[in-house]
Symmetry: C2
């Protein structure tokens, strides 16, 4: 745990340069626009430790699998997040001396992430080895108005230097992934051109053959401008431009870049597209673009913000999480999804985990237009064929969605996860229910949803085995959400979600039969479903085996859980934590300690199916054994603790996610931000503290406020209503900002919310 930034409601600020923690800073100061993003790298050369990373959504490379011991079923190649051409780079020289904050003496430094307005600002005062003093101020943004555009403003003021200042802006395609299995170069050059202030570079990914074209225009404002040499190489275009500078003078350099790809445009029109877009941006000018950017972010916050009064640190944490979620995914492109590190690092290779369905979907459902959550579901629908192939590869029927994916194919190679962590199928089915439950858009079943549900149900029906000795269906050899156990029999969560999927698919079938009869017959034929299948599913539902212990009154995470040496985390020497850094893997596996909510995960997903008493007993049993060494764990415990009435525990759990990256809690933020778990802190507040649920089409709230806070407020998009919920120690105030009169349930009481009205309770 290391904290290098300042606490502020709307800003992340670093007040000095930490060369030894530069990778951590680079992660924290990442910005993006849902289409592409970049770590907080400097524009100018930095010779210290740095991880240069620019990422473009959906541009990937199938790396050749490298594992210690091959297991049948692993994919030979798998999609990997790709470090993209470096497009923001600008070398800076004072006469012949190149600016480099690693070798120059830095006398002042500040890096600021302006969350409210979506830009990165940096200023520094530095002295060159030969003694030249300058001040620099750099502003960068990734436009959310035109997501192909990046703008950089680079101001330099001379303190005591008189001479020439030069800028060398460039586009560089000679980039590598740090995380590549065989140290291969994933890019090849296609086109390059340079005409001083205009330049363009097209690079193509090997194998996948995505073309990426970056075009740039630059402008130097100053005296005595001279154009210098041009570099126009296959993988690198750049030029040299200089101005005269004197003590007190200020020189400003602008760089506009557009990045377009063959995912969105015809390969042949990429160059023209990129050039016309960057030309338009340059015409508008930095000031105009920057103003649009600020306005667009302000507008986004109007829907997405969660405000917290009386706790600036908590306020900063939740805003940072929301900010970074929107940097990663805006929902505009239905072919994109939410990578666990977003555009902030290469780790975890692929792009999509069950995190999307389990944690991110509810966030987007409530904070954005419902088409965005729908797009997240359609993403999986598009991958259904590949999920069918994946199941067939394992000798099973139906669809098994991949653990990690970019293009629908499995991108992970750890047998106990790849082949056995099949509960992910349950999360994908549950997301369909969750979407329809929230939005009421049941027609989604007819359009897309039922196919996915039916294929997942077929999978479960082929994956169970009937145990005649016990008269029960079992699911053997699985890994639950708690990866601190694996290859177990009858993971309760997996069995529960399997059975629930079958039930929900049958319910969906009934709905279709009644409401979309023609489509239902069509679907049954296409999917090859018979009444025998439905009967078999019913039999599985009736006879599914759920390990439990009557004496303790709890569901058992898996067969044999009670044979473990049952201890509490509080029994451990704190020096042993985190276990994953201090214990050998086998010791973790045979211990009772839980990485991530497992039985409780079901109680979160299928919240309405369990009594409060069941939730309490299981929470009391499992929480003390949970080490929360997955960033996805505490939010589930926070939501359930809040529901049970354990307010302090709920708040404690909230704190574990809210500032995970800002405080580098797991000591791994240098690899990139924990994007998907960021949704968890929103869940902890809205589903947890505010007790938000949707039951039978009705919005339910049951808020409490943590002691440390004065108040908190958030907005919900719900079925055409935009509702502001404000909670303080005295009142809950509900304001409808958009939408017609409707009824909601507050603390179990039905309340009438007028159009554009406010209710205080």
């Amino acid at each position: 745990m290391k904290k290098i930034t300042e606490v502020n409601e709307w800003k992340i600020t670093e007040n000095q340069l930490y060369p030894e923690d530069n990778r951590l800073s680079e992660s924290l100061f990442s910005i993006g626009n849902g289409k592409m993003g970049m770590r907080g790298n400097f524009e100018e050369t930095y010779s210290g430790d740095t991880h240069l990373g620019t990422y473009i959504g959906g541009i990937y490379y199938p790396d050749k699998t490298r594992v210690g011991w091959w297991k049948n079923g692993y994919p030979e190649y798998y999609a990997k997040v790709l470090n993209a051409p470096e497009v923001t780079g600008i070398r800076v020289y004072l006469d012949e001396e190149e600016l480099d904050l690693h070798t120059w003496k830095v006398t002042a430094f500040r890096r600021e992430l302006h969350m409210k307005h979506g830009y990165l600002y940096r200023e520094f005062t530095a002295v060159s080895p030969s003694g030249k003093h300058i001040e620099g101020k750099v502003t960068r943004f990734f436009s959310i108005v035109d997501s192909s555009i990046i703008g950089v403003k680079y101001e330099v003021k001379s303190t005591d230097f008189e001479g020439r200042i030069s800028f060398e802006p460039y586009l560089d395609g000679d980039v590598r992934n740090e995380d590549a299995n065989y140290d291969e170069d994933f890019w090849m050059p296609v086109h390059h051109e340079y005409a001083f202030e205009h330049a363009a570079l097209t690079m193509r990914t090997r194998k996948t053959e995505f073309d990426v074209t970056a075009a740039m225009q630059t402008k130097l404002i100053g005296e005595g401008i001279r154009q210098g040499k041009v570099v126009n190489e296959e993988e690198h275009v750049g030029h040299h431009v200089s101005a005269a500078i004197k003590p007190g003078n200020k020189i400003t350099f602008y760089k506009f870049v557009s990045v377009v790809t063959s995912r969105d445009y015809n390969r042949n029109s990429l160059l023209e597209e990129a050039k016309s877009r960057v030309a338009k941006a340059a015409d508008e000018g930095f000031t105009g673009l920057f103003k649009q950017q600020m306005e667009a972010w302000e507008k986004r916050w109007q829907h997405a913000d969660v405000s917290i009064g009386g706790d600036v640190s908590a306020q900063q944490g939740i805003r940072y999480n929301i900010f970074q979620l929107y940097n990663t995914y805006t929902g505009e492109d239905p072919l994109l999804n939410i990578g666990p590190k977003g555009f902030t690092g290469e780790k975890y290779g692929g792009s999509t985990y069950w995190d999307t369905e389990a944690y991110c979907l509810p966030f987007y459902l409530s904070t954005a237009d419902e088409s965005i959550a729908r797009n997240l579901l359609i993403y999986r629908y598009r991958h259904l064929d590949k999920a069918n192939e994946n199941a067939a590869k394992l000798g099973l029927k139906g669809a098994l969605y991949p653990m990690v994916t970019m293009d629908g194919e499995e991108s992970h190679n750890e047998w106990e996860i790849t082949f056995e962590e099949i509960h992910r199928n349950g999360a994908i089915a549950h997301a369909i229910w969750n979407y329809i439950n929230y939005t009421g858009d049941a027609s989604y079943l007819a359009d897309y949803g039922f196919e996915v549900l039916a294929e997942i149900s077929k999978f479960w029906a082929s994956r169970v085995n009937f145990n005649p000795r016990k008269g029960k269906y079992m699911i053997l050899g699985v890994t639950g959400p708690n990866e601190y156990e694996n290859n177990v029999n009858n993971n309760w969560h997996t069995n529960r979600m399997a059975s629930w999927t079958l039930e929900y698919t049958l319910t969906a079938a009934l709905y279709l039969e009644r409401n979309h009869q023609k489509r239902f017959i069509e679907l049954k034929n296409e999917l090859g479903l018979t009444d025998d299948d439905f009967e078999h599913w019913k039999d599985i539902i009736t006879h599914m085996y759920y390990p439990s212990d009557k004496q303790l009154g709890v569901y058992l995470q898996q067969d044999g859980f009670l044979d473990k040496d049952l201890m509490h985390v509080s029994d451990l020497d704190p020096k042993e934590l985190p276990l994953n850094q201090n214990w050998s893997w086998d010791r973790i596996l045979r211990s009772c300690f839980i990485k991530q909510a497992d039985v409780l995960q079901s109680m979160y997903f299928l919240n309405h199916r369990f009594t409060l008493d069941e939730k309490k007993r299981n929470f009391d049993f499992y929480e003390p054994m949970t080490v929360h060494e997955s960033s996805l764990s505490p939010c589930v415990h926070a939501v359930l603790a809040a529901e049970i009435g354990y307010e302090e525990k709920a708040y404690e759990m909230y704190l574990r996610t809210a500032r995970l990256d800002l405080d580098n809690y797991n000591n791994d933020t240098e690899d990139g931000l924990h994007i998907t778990s960021m949704a968890g802190s929103w869940l902890a507040i809205v589903h947890g503290f505010a007790g938000m649920r949707v039951k039978k089409g009705e919005l339910h709230l049951k808020p409490f406020i943590p002691k440390a806070w004065d108040n908190y407020a958030f907005k919900l998009n719900f079925r055409g209503h935009l509702v502001n919920v404000h909670v303080d120690h005295q009142h809950v105030t509900i304001t409808q900002e958009k939408g017609e009169r409707f009824t909601l349930s507050l603390d179990g009481q039905l309340i009438d919310i007028p159009e554009a009205g406010k209710i205080e309770v």
Copy 2:
């Protein structure tokens, strides 16, 4: 399965060159002398597919671990078998044309492994691209008289060629491992010298800094000899010598090599040592050395042979296995051990598995001097400190021997095996019992054995956990011998061997207390053992949990085994076999199919502890589910089937090991021979068909003969007796070739065996 060799009692013969199967041939025609060995590579250049491999016992390299996903506890570096300098190479030219059986037309070819006399012979007739016809005859042996010496005789006869024939013998240190994690060069040059017929090269391994010096002397016999150029480079020494040749002429070239290492000699004297040894060999001449080699092998066979009458294929199989075992390990060097691929390939990286204790030890106990089996035990004693470190690394007490090792450190990185296949500790403890039971040398306990037993017992005592709900000790999270299940709870074999180890350690303690009191007190102090430890061990023995099923009357391989879909191998479509090539890994894991004897492994180890009825019930239950996809499985089933009286099943199981490599049964012999499983076919005959056991110091036999055989015979070294056991369909004939009068049990009857006498029953 592919058979490319001829059936013969004493020879392995290949009658044509199979370029597409050359790697398979190279494995099959490997030779060695326990100190070093080599694949059946050609001396001259071969441009076709080949895996050049020369290996020197105990010369290894710590390769940097490469795994897909790191787990705490993995070693960062681990020892790996090292491909050593190529020392037998001789380039051959007719005028300017280089002999290469890949590009020349081969009109006749034969490769012969002479098992009786320990050499490799090869002859060929070939035509050069320009039409030169020659015949070649090449003999190579690795001396077992002086294990540093290799001799090569290379004869060439011209059919129609007149001109000059040249030889370029060389020593080449520029060799790589095919199996290296980072494609590194593991050797660096130290010294090289050349003076025509004398040359030497010293190479040093990186990191481990073993020096290996090879010295060679060569001699060309022919007319018009001319010395040519000398190559004297850092990693390659060689020279050129030629003779005149005419049609009908025969030219003979001799190459003598000595290889010595810093494992055996002072680094500074290596060069002198190598040169004096090779000089002595060259002085003796090829004929003399070759005669010694043949005599030494004949002598070895007098003890080690198993003869089979009426089944040449079976005869060849068992002799091949015995031959290759002795090529790999002779027991002369207590620091060496038996690698699963011996000196025939790189696969499985390390050198020592539990295979040594479980399968090879009984073979050496019966066929060689008892000091050799003792050396195998001492090998583990020397690694005790590292086994202690290994256990500590996993947070446990006592000693955990590595799964795979070269120098005592763990050389394997698959968590489910490395950390969880801990039954290996039981095999190492059992080997001590086995050795003492066979030899009567109980003093081994005082010298070495007790320390190993006590440290292993400490390990078990710290690895169990007491389950208060069931009042039982359990061992969670293990992998048994059957690797087609892993990370299970309460593997019956592991629990059984753990408890047995504790029992045997207590028995050993009692023996020491009574017979070596002073040493016992010393040992207790050194080992920090108290009476509390002994009491705790007794408690574990009494309350160990063993999964079983009363109804079926069987022990259960692990908790939950009966929840599996129980099927027989015979229920499978034969196209699905072997499962490891046709099923995904998770499917194998959740199936009931067994790779390798598991419950039955205990019944083999602790044979005297189980009733015949128990053995039968468990065999009947498990055998039909066993796919025997480990080469170590069938021998255990063979021994038990024989004991139960399932003679045909015993014979069927024998056939699965006896010709595993000769018939390339598992289709992987190209990677090297299955050395350790070769001991299994000897076990199947001696412990299986002949029913050999040692009980309370007495030799027991209970022979039967497979229907297909006329007779079989083998010799046993037993406590100073050399006994020949001959079995045919009418009689069992026991002949004492050496030793005093003694009593043995034949079919349950005590029989008196006179000194140098023969008994026929």
